[in-house]
Structure formats: C-alpha cells, structure tokens
C-alpha cells in the first residue's frame, strides 16, 4: 500500500517544529508501524536527509519506549497495543497518517518524536519502590497474599511507564501512571510500610513536574496499551486522603532502619 505521512519534525528542545510530509510507497501490510518508519528513514538516509528520530527498544510491547501519537491517538488506533505492535494491516492504501510526539509540558521534546520522560523517573523515586532487607533471598511464598489482591496488584503492575496516559489526557495529567504504581504496591503486604509516603510523595512530585490535574475524562484508560483500569486513580485518591489525614509524621523510609 502507499501512504502519506505527516510527521512532526523538530531539531531540538528549543527550536520550533513543523509537520513534514513524506510518501511511504509499497508498504507491506505484514510489517509493524515502526518497520514502516524504518523504511522511510532508510530512504531519507539514502537521499542524504536526516531520518525521523523516534524512540524504540524492545519492539514487543513491553518496554514502553515507542511513544508517538498516530492520527490523534497515542500508540495508534488499536486498543491495548503499543506503536511497535501496531501492524500496517490496520491501515489501507491512500491513508494519510499524522504522527506527533507526546504533547505535555512535563515531557519536553528532545528531537522529532522523542520526548524526555525523566519526570516519570523522578515520580518513581518518590515512592514507586518497596524497602527490602538485604541478605539471602526470602522464600517466595513466605508471605501469603490473597488471590484478589495479587490479581489487582498484577493488573496495575502491567504499566510500562510509556506515558500514553499523559499524551491522551486532555489535561496532560499523569494520574493513571501514578495510580498504577500506588495501586500495584498498595495491594501487596510488601508495599505497606511506604504506603502513605508513596501516595503523598508521588502525587506531589507529579504536581511539581507540572503535569495537569485529573478531571475524570478517562481518555488515559482508553489509550493505555496495557489497559490499566481508571479505578487505580480512585484507589490513589483514597490512599492520598488517608495519608493526608493521619496525624503522625512518618519516620524515615529508606536507610539503616
């Protein structure tokens, strides 16, 4: 099939960007979206032009690196699918495809479709972890976990931190990401010691990174490639309020204890 691509090109974080139009000719319906872009890039390189910069790593839908908004939808039109797992058979001959980077103040553009998502790392540092004792590994099943809790934690743990929730949210809010982390660890016994600090710290860091506020549009859950349920946001709200009204200031989390 032959396609027309309108791709956002931007040299650097502070240079103005613009859309450039490219023709992708003879695209096989069996290849992935990223392979289609590879083909365009090879041709650009052959013509001595700068290839389109986009991020990718695993190309099997687990690393969350491939960030691009395809025709107005983060990761493209297929539900529960990352851009790297999107196949060209979802498009048809003659389609015009607009490709844009994640758009959020907290995700500044590095180049073309590549954005800086280190804001997510800083949010994780505020509580997206558990404290574990060093020493020999504990028996895997030493701590019993009820099946429903294990399932709920597992569902939230599917988050690959790709940032599609932020990209999809009309407010540029990161609450599905934060909610997924709070819910994932909050459902497990190992997550209890830091539970209060996690909710408070991660939400406050998300605010400090200048992500927007959640107003319950639910676009995030709709475009999450791992189909994280927006109920994790409600769970986070509850954890946050509970932590805020507890009178006692918590003691230091990490450290020699």
């Amino acid at each position: 099939m032959n396609l027309t691509l309108k791709v956002w090109r931007q040299q650097g974080p502070s240079t103005p960007g613009r859309f450039e139009t490219y023709e992708a000719k003879g695209v096989s319906e069996h290849i992935s979206f990223l392979e289609m872009l590879d083909g365009v890039n090879e041709r650009l390189l052959g013509e001595g032009k700068e290839p389109i910069a986009f991020e990718h790593d695993c190309r099997e839908g687990i690393c969350g690196t491939c960030s691009m908004v395809i025709n107005g939808e983060p990761h493209g039109p297929v539900k529960g699918t990352t851009a790297c797992q999107l196949h060209m058979r979802m498009f048809s001959d003659g389609n015009v495809i607009t490709i844009e980077p994640w758009r959020a103040r907290a995700f500044p553009i590095i180049k073309d479709l590549v954005v800086d998502r280190s804001a997510f790392d800083r949010i994780i540092q505020k509580g997206g972890f558990i404290s574990a004792n060093a020493g020999s590994a504990p028996d895997g099943n030493a701590v019993p976990i009820p099946k429903p809790d294990a399932d709920a934690a597992f569902e939230a743990a599917a988050c690959i931190g790709c940032g599609a929730c932020v990209a999809a949210c009309p407010n540029g809010s990161a609450m599905l990401f934060v909610g997924a982390k709070v819910s994932h660890l909050g459902h497990l016994p190992q997550g209890q010691p830091e539970r209060d600090l996690r909710a408070l710290g991660m939400v406050q860091q998300a605010d400090a990174e200048l992500f927007g506020n959640c107003t319950n549009h639910y676009e995030c859950g709709e475009h999450c490639p791992k189909e994280i349920d927006v109920k994790v946001i409600a769970e986070m709200n509850r954890d946050f309020v509970r932590a805020a009204i507890r009178a006692e200031e918590p003691k230091q989390v990490a450290g020699s204890g």
Binding site: K6, W8, F19, V69, N71, G72, E73, T98, E100, R103, A104, R105, A106, P170, N171, G172, S173, M175, L200, V203, Q204, A206, D207, L210, F211, G212, N213, C214, T215, N216, H217, Y218, E219, G221, E222, H223, V230, K231, I233, A234, E235, M236, N237, R238, F240, V241, A243, A244, I245, E249
Partner: protein, 235 residues
C-alpha cells in the same frame, strides 16, 4: 497539620475541594428545587414557605454566607485547575480524537461559567428585583397573612415567567446545569475513591440520573407557567 495543608494544596486536594463543594451545591440545588416545586401547590404554600425562609434572620444569613463561600471555593478552584491544565499542554495536537471523554466532561468550565452567569441573573431577578423591577415592587407587599403584609412570591414567579424570554432563559440555564451535573455527579464517586465493582453502574448512572431529575424539576416551573397551567388566578 503541615502535611495535611500541603496535601490540600495538591492536585488531589483541589479535586477533593471540587467534589465536596460540588456535592454541597448539589444538595442546595435539590433542596431549592423541592422548595420551589411548591408553586404547584398554590400561592398559600409557596408564600408561607418563602415567609418562613425570610424569617430565619441570622440563620438565613449564615446559610447565605456559607453557600457563597462554598460556591466561591468551587469556582476559584475550578479556575485554578483549568488554567493549570491548559498550561500542562502548551502545544496542542494537530489531530484530536476524543474517545472516552464526553461533551459534558470537556465543557465543565463553560457549563460552569454559564451557570455562574445565570445565578447572578437569577439573584438580580428574584432576590434583588433589578430585573423585572416593576413586578418585584408590585408584589412586594401583596400577600396578606395573619401577621401582616408579605411578598406575594407566587405572583412574582407567575408574572415573571409569563415572559417567554425570561422563562426560556431559565430553561436554557437548567439544561447547562444538567450537562454540568451529568459529568459532575458521576465524577464525584471517582474523586472520592469509590472503587467497588458493585458500585460501577451506580457511578456511571448517577450523573445522568441526577441531571435529568434536576432539569425536569426546575424546568417544569417556568414551562408550566408559560403554558398557562399554573397561575391562572394571577392577573
């Protein structure tokens, strides 16, 4: 307390303010509607009700100030969230395909502002008498009760809503309030952290249901008067 106050200033704190003030306002809207539906029971009922409210004295003022504070908090926080959310995406997308969001959810600030404008107009109309001032003055001491002359609220409402422009402006405002609540009331469940799957359908249905009740209840008054079904005795 420091942790509590920083938490209140956070984005979830702001959400909580929106939800709690929104619920309080909804409580007022419902009570106000039930009170006003007494026009269908005739002049005696609604005039006595209005008289009771007027006679509350300091309690009435406490209620007014409380309501104004709650309303102010709701509007101020809404504005704060709205500007912050605009700023979170400085460069808009070229292509936008809304899927899970609704027209109501995307226009909360505009339905809110129109409701705000309506409330100002409504107060100028029936509380201060700046709109349709002649009717307001003529009905002011027109109702004779056992303890003297009082405002004939029934006649004021009936004569006011006989003007199609006035009645229709009320209907339009109620439709926008309904739009606001169709998203808002469902949203409150999520904000306040209701996660039970058994509540999922309640969560979804509550907004449209409450909005429908309020739109029908509140619109029935101007429409019934405009159609001449209520207020035949008033000239």
């Amino acid at each position: 307390m420091s942790r509590f106050t920083t938490a209140l200033g956070s984005s979830i704190g702001a959400k909580l303010v929106m939800a709690l003030t929104g619920l309080a306002l909804l409580g007022f809207v419902l009570a106000h509607m039930i009170g006003n539906l007494q026009v269908f029971a005739g002049p005696e009922k609604i005039n006595a009700y209005a008289h009771t409210l007027q006679n509350l004295g300091p309690i009435l003022w406490a209620m007014r100030i409380g309501l104004l504070t709650i309303f102010g908090l709701h509007v101020w926080t809404a504005f704060k969230l709205w500007t912050a959310n605009k700023a979170a995406r400085p460069v808009p997308y070229a292509v936008v395909v809304p899927s899970a969001s609704t027209y109501a959810s995307r226009t909360m600030i505009w339905s809110g502002f129109i409701v705000l404008a309506f409330i100002v107009y409504h107060l100028l109309h029936f509380t201060l008498g700046a709109v349709q001032g002649d009717i307001f003055q003529q009905t002011r001491e027109a109702w004779t009760a056992a303890d003297g002359k009082h405002p004939d609220v029934y006649a004021m409402i009936v004569r006011g809503f006989r003007s199609p422009a006035v009645a229709l402006s009320y209907v339009v405002a109620q439709l926008l309030l309904g739009l606001h609540l169709s998203h808002g009331v469902s949203s409150v469940f999520q904000t306040l952290g209701f996660t039970s799957p058994r509540l999922a359908c309640v969560k979804k249905a509550a907004g449209p249901l409450v909005a429908t009740v309020i739109v029908i209840g509140n619109c029935s008054i101007p429409l019934a008067i405009l159609l001449g079904l209520v207020g035949k005795g008033v000239n």
